[in-house]
């Protein structure tokens, strides 16, 4: 409505959603575009469900309205489903094929949907499903999963892949630049680049 491209990155505290959002923010700066973001800090971070909002070309507030997101990037299947109402009708999903059951499943005996049930529910939207852990390990480190996810999602983003790659190189630790550049490229291939 306001011309921004709205991306919601979700996962579990500690999975690297903040670095992923920083990479997108830096990429916007490189392209000289405005950007707004919001994220979870403090108590909510301790192993809980976390969300980062990024609004490319955003001029106003940092929050994405449910039903308005263009793209959902999720590091976990269950979290993808939890936040899927944020997507607009033709919104896209990039999700890591990985399911961490919350401790509440064991301690409070809550029932979690199965992988197959989650994937079936997510298929209401255009879906890119990938094994980021395996790809990241192949690229050289399982820690590069977040960059693999960004690589796969890049085909839908209004940012040039070269810019995203440059941003990855600027923000990851120096020693890991090569691995992360590779992870980004492999993520792009896994995502089936347009």
């Amino acid at each position: 409505m306001t011309g921004s491209y709205d991306i919601l990155i979700v996962g579990i505290g500690g999975q690297g959603t903040i670095l992923a959002s920083n990479i997108l923010g830096e990429a916007c700066l490189i392209e000289g575009r405005q950007v707004r973001g919001a994220e979870t800090h403090g108590m909510a971070q301790r192993g809980g469900s976390v969300e980062s909002h990024i609004r490319i070309d955003g001029q106003y507030g940092p929050l994405i309205t449910p039903g308005q997101a263009d793209l959902l990037i999720s590091f976990d299947l269950l979290e993808a489903l939890r936040y899927s109402h944020y997507l607009k009708k033709d919104g896209k999903i990039v999700v890591n094929r990985h399911l961490v059951l919350p401790t509440s499943v064991y301690t409070q005996k809550l029932v979690a949907p199965t992988e197959e049930e989650i994937i079936a529910a997510l298929k209401n939207h255009e879906l890119c499903l990938l094994d980021a852990d395996r790809i990241a390990t192949e690229a050289g480190s399982p820690l590069s999963q977040n960059v693999v996810m960004l690589g796969a999602a890049s085909k839908w983003m209004p940012l040039k892949p070269e810019t995203l790659l440059e941003s990855v190189k600027r923000l990851v630790p120096k020693k890991t630049i090569e691995i992360n550049a590779k992870a980004f490229g492999m993520g792009r291939v896994a995502g089936g680049k347009n």
Partner: protein
């Protein structure tokens, strides 16, 4: 001008560097902590910086520095300002020479807080200027003005960002860093700094006389501004004004409030040019009350007539609903979207290997039917383990415990408090409990750091905010000095020891203190401590579920057997509770 993608708090910290800040202090509290964390991480510092032990201590330090003519910043979260309210109220009377900016970060929706109080009410109460930014860029731009206003009017200035400013990000235009160069010098002036009745009466009058000029200056500064676009108007403050701008239809006037006190004459002129106005702000109706005072017969829509909520945080969707309901938006552009129901919740949880989990387990084992007052910190998450019965504010575990113990309640009272919280406002309660003969057990959950807010050091850590070694306070000696006779330090990873000491405490009368001491598992990982993971022998495991009920995120349960995942940090507590010894160190069997 340099542009960077920054967190609100990082942008605020940078603006302090641009303002040539000389003195920085505060107490950590979400969402304010990263301002000092950013300033203490600077490779070169031309300013003094400390984490103080609490907000009152911090504000008094900052006030004194500002009396000496230097620029001081004091940061805290909204509830911290309650602790600092005593010096705040009278600092408005004494005033300052150097600029004093008090950053008190509000938390609408209580994302990480015990209440939703509004710092703007304190500014109103104390009669000091308050700045309320609408975006990360404005938060940055307001800081130099905050110091200038403070120096111009000789008053502390409150800067009040909210969670959605502090923890938002944006592309921010930054100015050059200026090294703090002022040298403090105290000029004796008892009529200013000694608030005996004869002096304070005069100071109060002076404070009130400053008000009209402050109101005018805030409009001149452009923090409060408007645009006439039609016969109806929306007035919004802080982050809510960003949400309104995203939705504002053609032909509706807009006023943005970013500073208080509001110039009533200026406001009234704007309001009376319209047929009706809507006020949108988070939390207290601070703007709305002023609007209603000047509106005359112009209808005002807002919280007071049920169009906007008093509680929670706003969002573009919430603002759209309010505007539609009050007739300022023809059609809500947002379609309701269905949330997937019945998914298992994933709330924050104590880390795998957190020392608090073992301590809580032992407390529950020894004191089965007891009352468990607790406090503010990671360990509030002990609620999930059934060992947190009360929290109210920092330091109130010990005082609530003694209150319950003296009330006639016959069950045991066992309270828990973290090391940083104990040093913040716990000691007074302990001294009081001993002095007045309470029967209770205090467990100090000592992880050597202020963990919840991002691992800031405290007097117990042995390091200052700037990483300089300093003699660590002895919790044992502090407790003994308060008159406690039974003080025992134990490792909560050693369940047997922990249980034995608790049993010993249970037998005794009076105030007993147990210091459950072990490094925070996150600091331990960062420091390179490696303990080796644990694993379940599936043949031996009977599927009894004892370890699962322990609630560690590293323990899963599938096909009637427990399993330990890669989150395991090797604390070994689960191995001690397994009734059949099925949990052992990886590679040991």
């Amino acid at each position: 001008m340099e542009r960077k993608y920054l967190l609100g708090n990082e942008a605020i910290a940078h603006a302090c560097l641009e303002s040539g800040v000389d003195f920085v202090c505060g107490y950590p509290g979400t969402p304010s902590s990263e301002v000092i964390d950013t300033l203490r991480a600077q490779p070169e510092r031309s300013y003094y910086l400390e984490w103080s032990v609490n907000e009152k201590v911090a504000l008094e330090n900052a006030l004194a520095a500002a009396w000496c003519g230097v620029r001081a910043l004091c940061t805290m979260k909204h509830v911290g300002l309650n602790v600092a309210a005593d010096p705040l109220m009278t600092s408005a009377y004494t005033g300052v020479t150097g600029g004093l900016v008090i950053m008190s970060a509000d938390d609408p929706f209580a994302h990480s807080s015990q209440n939703e109080q509004d710092t703007r009410c304190y500014a109103h109460f104390a009669r000091v200027p308050c700045l309320d930014p609408a975006s990360v860029q404005e938060a940055h731009d307001m800081i130099p003005s905050a110091f200038e206003l403070s120096e111009e009017f000789g008053l502390p200035v409150i800067f009040r960002p909210t969670t959605r400013i502090c923890h938002s990000k944006g592309d921010v235009g930054l100015g050059p860093v200026v090294a703090g160069s002022r040298k403090g010098e105290f000029h004796k002036d008892p009529r200013q700094y000694v608030v005996i009745p004869a002096h304070t009466r005069v100071l109060h009058k002076k404070l009130n006389e400053k008000q009209p000029a402050i109101r005018k200056r805030l409009v001149e500064k452009g923090f409060n501004r408007y645009e006439i676009r039609g016969k109806t108007a929306v007035i919004a403050s802080g982050i809510a004004s960003s949400y309104v701008q995203e939705l504002l239809p053609e032909g509706v006037s807009f006023m943005k409030i970013g500073a208080y006190p509001i110039d009533e004459e200026w406001l009234g002129e704007f309001v009376r040019k319209h047929e009706k106005v809507l006020v949108i702000e988070e939390l207290a109706p601070e703007v709305e009350e002023t609007v209603r005072q000047v509106a005359g017969c112009v209808p005002v829509f807002g919280k007071k007539n049920g169009y906007a909520p008093y509680e929670g945080e706003l969002s573009p969707a919430a603002v759209a609903t309010i505007m539609e309901k009050a007739g300022f938006l023809k059609k809500n552009p947002f379609v309701p979207s269905e949330v997937v129901q019945n998914l298992p919740v994933r709330p924050p949880i104590l880390c795998a290997g957190c020392l608090h989990r073992g301590a809580f387990y032992a407390i529950k084992k020894v004191f089965k039917d007891a009352i468990y007052p607790s406090d503010i910190g990671c360990y509030t998450l002990g609620l999930q383990l059934g060992v947190v019965d009360t929290t109210i504010c920092m330091g109130a575990s010990i005082t609530v415990a003694s209150g319950i113990a003296h009330s006639g309640e016959t069950r045991d009272v066992v309270c828990t408090i973290g090391d940083s919280t104990f040093l913040h406002t716990g000691i007074q309660g302990l001294m009081n409990a001993v002095y007045n003969g309470a029967n209770m057990t205090v467990v100090i959950l000592d992880n050597r750091i202020t963990a919840m807010t991002g691992h800031q050091p405290n007097p117990n850590t042995g390091l200052t905010a700037c990483g300089v070694e300093t003699p660590p306070v002895s919790l044992d000696a502090v407790c003994r000095a308060c008159g406690v006779r039974f003080v025992e330090t134990v490792d909560p990873y050693d369940l047997t020891d922990m249980i034995n000491v608790l049993q010993e405490a249970k037998k005794r009368t009076g105030v007993k203190v147990i210091i459950a001491k072990q490094m925070c598992v996150i600091s331990a990982r960062r420091a390179g401590v490696k303990r080796g993971r644990y694993t379940v022998d599936t043949e031996a495991c009977t599927g009894c579920g004892t370890c699962v009920r322990f609630g560690c995120p590293a323990i899963e349960f599938a096909d009637e057997k427990a399993r330990i995942n890669e989150l395991c940090s090797g604390c070994a507590v689960c191995a001690q509770l397994c009734p059949v010894g099925a949990i052992t160190r990886e590679g040991k069997r």
